[in-house]
Symmetry: D2
Subunit: 382 residues, 4 copies
């Protein structure tokens, strides 16, 4: 490939948190350039946002439909290669569908869709399109998460018996959505968020991380959801029991009303021979325990790592990589795959989350909501 | 009081873990002296154990019955003031009953009894006896646990919404009970341990700590217990959902097969105005979060503590107190109460766990086992 | 400004650690694009490196002289705006001089030059050129370092009394330079590194960080340097006493043979009213102590921060930023300044390290080497 | 031995910090009973203190002379076996001398004496007396300190190259001695403290710990002392360079004006094959680094410990022991030795600090004060 990939963005106008994240993540590895965007459904806002990003005015569109259809008409050497969808949940499926059907590859934020039906439909659309689709479960991009997954996969921990996963935030402790806080407003609104609140926003990350590291599916769950914030109709808290496909058991705790928690995603996995522990807020440590050895702490680019972890570190040991770099790894692996495809090559086991992860996430939300309705009855994820 | 209190010990012969703990804990504050013991039901072993403790041979008895009855006959200035019961669970009730009925005060290890029926019976016996009874839920003796409880009680955290409590150990990860490990053998044996395995051994500590700090009762729970160790008939792992009497929700995770965990009792409590976090393995920190202030970490004898915490620190800030000191605080508070009684005085709110905590612990075990039998159905603690 | 700034890079060919770092740092905030480079003094290598970065072949030069002179001839709308110098120390001054004298702004890695004389000469060249010059003391870009500096400046800590600063690495514990390790080879070679080994490579960061946070100059130092690696002629370890201009005292410890240390830059500052502590390896915490309050921990975008810290955070609290992001802040602040200049505007207090920091760093190296020669005699930094 | 050892205490009356510490430490292992005391030079105060400790009035003396001479007259089966001296520094030598000369063994707090001359004299007195003498450098009693020492001794770390040791407190940040704070008053008074302030109080601990763990003597030092507290004549802060007998280099930082520090004694030791790190405030971890292995953390009674560490743990892994337990280990090892002697036995390598450690501590103080007077000139410890 003798050029960078060209990205068009949907959503992510000025002031957006996640739009900025995607742009920075796409930029870090120097493989992608932003060439166009439909940053807002308000054309003027979209153009203003694009200008602040140094984009030419004629590549800043007033709607995703306009962008997809107009870009399609541009010469091959100019038009975007893929779209990045960073809108609220209800606006994931429509642009993804349109982009795929018009020959564009897609990167999409999570949860993948508003409904489970959309998620299932999307899988068919992707297959039919023959295009690539990546879902930004960004936390799987951390070197120590890769190391954790590799250690379990290689059997270092033995059979897994117990899992603890949590994703705790406190930013919805008060009713900030009533103060006009934009990030909060759509997240507590079922028409934009779907049937899950915290479940969709952070629970899917917890579910995805647990399954990614252990290589095990959650078979069934029992969910006790809370709606603590005044006037909330969606869950802002949840306590779950988990049963994994191999007989392991566990808990999941998620919350956006866990006052004082910032972004406390963490997981512990206990096996018959070893155990491990990882914390997103200090992501450059993987703490491990062993039957007959002292605690060992692995660090990115440190000693004794598997290739899977070494592959995704950018800088020497002790130079902390963070949230953006892990996010960038999703983009990098997607870009690597897409470049290969554009070069007519194939790639062995592309390592980024796909539509299957997206469907799984939606199934998780649906199972949890159903379980909660039945007073935390055991419910299968399917 | 012009003399130390005189303690007789039941159980805790040479090689016992918890007997040594009780002896050291009783000694730290200089208010108690060990004067006699029935350290083993084997008279010779009992005498050997007593000799190693520098006790006179005639105060080392071959059974608790012998000890209680013979000590009763000794002159008032010589005979023990109270017994400390440090046997396996099935041998808590018989000596406690006999001691109380013969006029001796009692300190007893937890869980209080083998069965819930015994626990309820014991309450009546205590009341009838007019004697003091302390249960060694030792973790409530830590200065930072006292501070935590005081902060919740004074409303600093606002209404409590969410609780996470865990007690994780890994020492039963392999079937050590099959290797003759004495501590393990009785704990996995229902005839000695009762209907709960990890539930009784450590779950009751988790339950007690959560209720002690929050001042809230667990109203109902849903328990998914595991028996991972080969051939185990009692739980060695448990994942629980909790609902508190005030509407708060939470999780409890307990395990003795969480490989690599040493003695990881920890709790997080989230309120509407603040939250707190405490870890037994590093007990000299209380981490707190606030709506509009940075994280604050309290330390024993450090700045801004409540009297409840200051009262139980023995040494200046930065000089870590540990497991034995917290345990000693139970003994100290019990001894202070008993000395007052012996002096014909009363004491305002003696601060140590009592038979009520013991009954609560047994109810917790029974509720959890029942819930587990019903596939983790919600079950009230009562 | 309606376009990104155009950067040309000197050094940083394929396999370079710091070249990649500068490129990523420059890319993160979307204000800069790499347009050309003299990535190696070997033209073919330079072109290969440039190709991997998707640069056109005719903008990949075989020497910095060629790049500077040819870019100068390009039309204004095409040619680079500034050069980024990421070569070993001995190749900082020549390209910086040539670039400045030909009208290009400069970003340069540290230590600024090979010799103190060069550093002083550079200041004059910069002044004469009227161009901007930034030195990448990247650690000052962390939000919590900004917060620390602001807290001291506003007097929160009172008069500073004591400082501990350290920068510890272990990667030169063995004689890796004898194995052909490129990063090591030039660092232990005085003709490329200058008179300081660890002093220049990491000591200058420690010196800069201490002076940046405290706002105090190190007045004099006593240095005991070590050359532990077999055959080393430059220091790979140093222990220093510090006396600050206000009477504060302190220690500095630097090492590249502190086995097992990864990149342990850390500082503690003690004042009459408060104290603070920051660790590069977990950079998203600022630990503070107070006379009459508990320990407080500040986090990026957390509660109670000064604007200086808030200004440089990119993502919400709990989403860790790391080494690259702090590095990027130097680029961002430099780019913001340069854009203003290009727009004919001025900017109030641009916040990035300049030639004055560079001179100070060289003076520090020279003072430490001189002190060490005199058996750690007190030596002024001047 | 069929009885506990009998201890008499000199100093340590009601309200004393260190008297209580010694009493608790002596009690924890059940080998020692307090039988008498000269708790104050005021007879009434001494008797009041003794009464609160449940001692008979006739064993509470008005002076150490009285106690020593009267106890000597008591029958062998009644009189004390040894004295424990817990007075301010100036009152260590006189009672130690008198006790030894009258046939009593001695445990003494540190620094050992007021002057170096006294220290040297004491060595002769001890030799002549044939009695045992222990100095309470309590921090060497921690299991993880024992493990650290064993690891260095067995060569696990290879040749030691670098040491960082610090002992930081903040409690003298303000002039608390002017408020009548008793602990502070004598410590800042040269007639009671000697020529060292922080040097004697905590510096000797740092020196002792560094030499104990590394098995290396500090050959020479360069000390820059501070007297920051208003009106102080003794050092309350110090920064030192160290050179060890084997060529290793290092720093020592001590302070009692390091605001917010509680009792931050910590050490790092770097060798050619490994390194280690220990922190008193969280003493149940020994962090180690290795050339080709991940970080390993050892814990008391955890995996892979040397016998030296296992020997001094009292409770299972994860049950934190603290300051008092480490202190108790000094008493326990002293008592074990004394019991052996009383039984006419010998003991192989008794493991507790002796008069040699005491002399070394005084030499350290003297060298540091001399170096400081000469503007931090290198000064040998001798």
């Amino acid at each position: 490939m003798t050029r960078k990939l060209r990205m068009g963005m949907i959503g992510g106008g000025t002031g957006s948190f996640i739009g900025d994240v995607h742009r920075r993540a796409a930029a870090i590895d120097g493989m992608i350039e932003l060439v166009c965007g439909a940053f807002s459904s308000n054309e003027e806002k979209s153009k203003t946002s694009g200008k602040a990003l140094y984009l030419p005015e004629d590549r800043c569109y007033g709607s995703f439909e306009e962008m997809i259809l107009k870009e399609k008409e541009l010469p091959e050497g100019v038009r975007m290669d893929f779209v990045s969808i960073v809108t609220p949940n209800h606006m994931h499926f429509p642009p993804a569908k349109l982009a795929l059907e018009n020959g564009f590859n897609v990167v999409c934020d999570k949860p993948m869709t508003l409904t489970l039906d959309e998620a299932i439909a999307l899988e068919t659309i992707i297959e039919k399109s023959g295009k690539l689709f990546a879902l930004t479960h960004n936390y799987t991009g951390h070197p120590m998460v890769k190391q954790a997954r590799a250690m379990v996969a290689k059997g270092d921990l033995g059979k897994i018996r117990k899992i603890q996963v949590q994703y705790l935030q406190g930013w919805l402790s008060t009713a900030v959505e009533q103060t006009g806080q934009k990030q909060a407003s759509w997240r507590v609104d079922p028409s934009k968020s779907g049937i899950g609140g915290a479940l969709g926003d952070i629970g899917t990350h917890a579910e995805n991380l647990a399954e990614y590291i252990t290589g095990l599916k959650i078979e069934e769950l029992a969910a006790d959801l809370g709606k603590f914030g005044e006037g909330r109709v969606l869950d802002d808290d949840g306590n779950l029991l988990l049963r994994m496909e191999n007989g392991a058991k566990g808990t999941m705790s998620i919350s956006q009303i866990a006052l004082g928690e910032e972004n406390n995603l963490a997981i512990k996995v206990y096996g018959e021979k070893g155990s491990l522990e990882w914390h997103q807020e200090n992501p450059n440590q993987l703490i491990t325990h062993w039957l007959e050895e002292p605690v060992k702490i692995f660090t990115p680019n440190g000693n004794n790592l598997y290739e899977e972890a070494l592959n995704v570190s950018r800088i020497p040991a002790g130079h902390p990589e963070g949230y953006l770099e892990a996010f960038a790894t999703i983009y990098k692996n997607f870009a690597t795959h897409l470049m290969a495809v554009l070069n007519g090559e194939t790639i062995d086991k592309p390592d980024y989350p796909t539509v299957k992860d997206g469907i799984r996430g939606m199934q998780f939300i649906y199972a949890a909501v159903e379980s909660d309705k039945k007073n935390a009855a055991w419910t299968k994820i399917e």
